[in-house]
Amino acid sequence: MIRRAVLVVLGLVWLYPTYLLLVNAARPAASYDPATAWAPSGDFALFANFAAALDKADLGSSLASTALYSVVSPLLGVVIGAMAGYTIVVLRLRHGFWWFLLIFGGTVFPSQMLLVPLFVGYSDAGLYDTRAGMLLVYTAVNVPLAAFVLRNFYSGVAFSIFEAARMDGASTFRIFWRVYLPISTSALAAVFILEFTFIWNDLLFGLTLTTTESVRPVMTALAGLMTDVYAGTPVPVGLAAGLMCSLPTVLLFLATQRLFARGLSLGSV
């Protein structure tokens, strides 16, 4: 009981800024006053604000490319990273710790400094402004995280599982694909959520490595609305834009909830 009480109280504290976000995103654009920002407005203008943001951001192109990056790259990243983690821990790769460090080291370098060299390299390699190029960079950024989580997750899995599968004559790849990937669903899902959110909200690589509408992430214009003083965007419209950008991620959270519920985890085999 105490546990639930603590969770509820803490949860309410956490929800307060979310409440402010919702209340003010739903406020008529011209009636925002920071002095009374906590009080809900009588008029409900959330959809008007959505419309205003969409109109200004002029999202002519489809969401397709952004959706492609934020789904395919994490999938690739998770599988590639999991495979590396599996090889290092379960297959006991020689100098495994150093291989692991090599891969994890990819997170060490500050990402802002990647921009100029990546841009120059991409334009030389013909990857600038291509979907393949975007998938490539997002996958690379995602691999270290996936490798780290899955490496450690597999290190907690009883080795007897591998031995048993080996006895049955399964190949190492088959064991990875049919045994290890399925038992790590919750870990894979957690990594996927993190990486999806990162790519969905990314402006760094998306802005620097693309130009045409069909390749460029759609979030650019919407993000500009929120930060640019020259745009003069009223706060409620900015918040509505932020809310809109967050919706797919929130839906993903809710859709994957089941994977993290007690008892469904297969990791305890």
């Binding site: 495979m83 379960v90 370098f109 989580v149 450690n152 007690r262």
Partner: protein, 282 residues
């Protein structure tokens, strides 16, 4: 890890190769370029001029860098206590109760918000005369004087990041085999003792992940500072990554900015090596 003989199989290197190649090609190669630039004078336009170690010499002579170091340290320590520590608490409280996943929803929601959205939500709260002032009955401009501004941003960071850490801890907790816990229960262990002696050691693999990731992320703290204070006022809330960004892109001093980047990379690399060596390699 057991130090027994490696499993045979021709494709072992083939399995790690994609990961290693992607990381080396896209994330290491740019570092080589940056390391080279740190030894030059370069404005991003005219060809770089060789400058030897001059940029690194400047590192030791820059009072702003000392502030950045101090703030970065605060971020590292603060991150371990708040987003990680509280994240563990929420995970432990919620992982094995009925409907626990729903109790975690409020903590996950903020993670969906982008940096610009974060600033829009929190500026009116932390502003002078803002909501926090009213709620707490104080008259403080939370984003102005150091170290209050860094601490305030740390709270915002906690608000956003807690859910992710909780999620990873939950994955770790749920992957624990049930048998040792049942056995300990039969021996009469419960509550704190059960957690301290049985659960905590067993969830170590994922704890190492959360701490390792938080260590790297906090050393590289950038986005949240950039959207809330841009490192100011008067550079008093700059972190190493903010200093690096400002010197490189805002002031167009690519050489010095790269030197800060190299230093940051070395510090982060060393810290993660030392931590991972203990947690992972043993």
């Amino acid at each position: 890890m057991r130090r027994s003989s490696p499993i045979l199989g021709r494709f072992r290197y083939g399995y790690v190769a994609p990961a290693a190649l992607l990381v080396a090609g896209l994330l290491y190669a740019p570092f080589v370029w940056t390391a080279y630039l740190s030894l030059t004078r370069y404005d991003g336009l005219a060809p770089p001029e060789w400058a030897g170690l001059a940029n690194f010499g400047k590192l030791f002579d820059d009072p702003a860098l000392l502030t950045s170091l101090r703030n970065t340290l605060l971020w590292v320590v603060g991150t371990m206590v708040l987003p990680v520590g509280l994240g563990l608490l929420v995970a432990v409280l919620s992982y094995d109760i009925k409907g626990g996943a729903w109790y975690r929803v409020p903590f996950m929601l903020p993670y969906a918000l982008s940096g610009a959205g974060l600033a829009l939500v929190w500026s009116p709260i932390l502003s002078h005369g803002g909501i926090a002032n009213v709620l707490l009955g104080v008259d403080t401009a939370f984003l102005q004087s150091a170290p209050v501004n860094t601490l305030a941003m740390l709270l915002v960071w906690t608000w956003q990041q807690l859910g992710v850490n909780t999620l990873l801890f939950v994955v770790g907790l749920q992957s624990i085999p049930k048998e040792p816990i049942e056995a300990a229960r039969l021996d009469g262990a419960s509550g704190w003792r059960l957690f301290r002696h049985i659960t905590w050691p067993l969830m170590r693999p994922l704890t190492a992940v959360v701490v390792g990731l938080a260590l790297v992320a906090s050393l590289k703290t950038f986005d949240i500072v950039w959207v809330l204070t841009q490192g100011g006022p008067g550079r008093n809330s700059e972190t190493l990554a903010v200093t690096m960004y400002k010197e490189t892109f805002v002031a167009s001093d690519y050489g010095y900015g790269s030197a800060v980047a190299v230093m940051l990379t070395v510090v982060t690399g060393l810290a993660s090596y030392l931590y991972l060596k203990r947690q992972v390699a043993s």
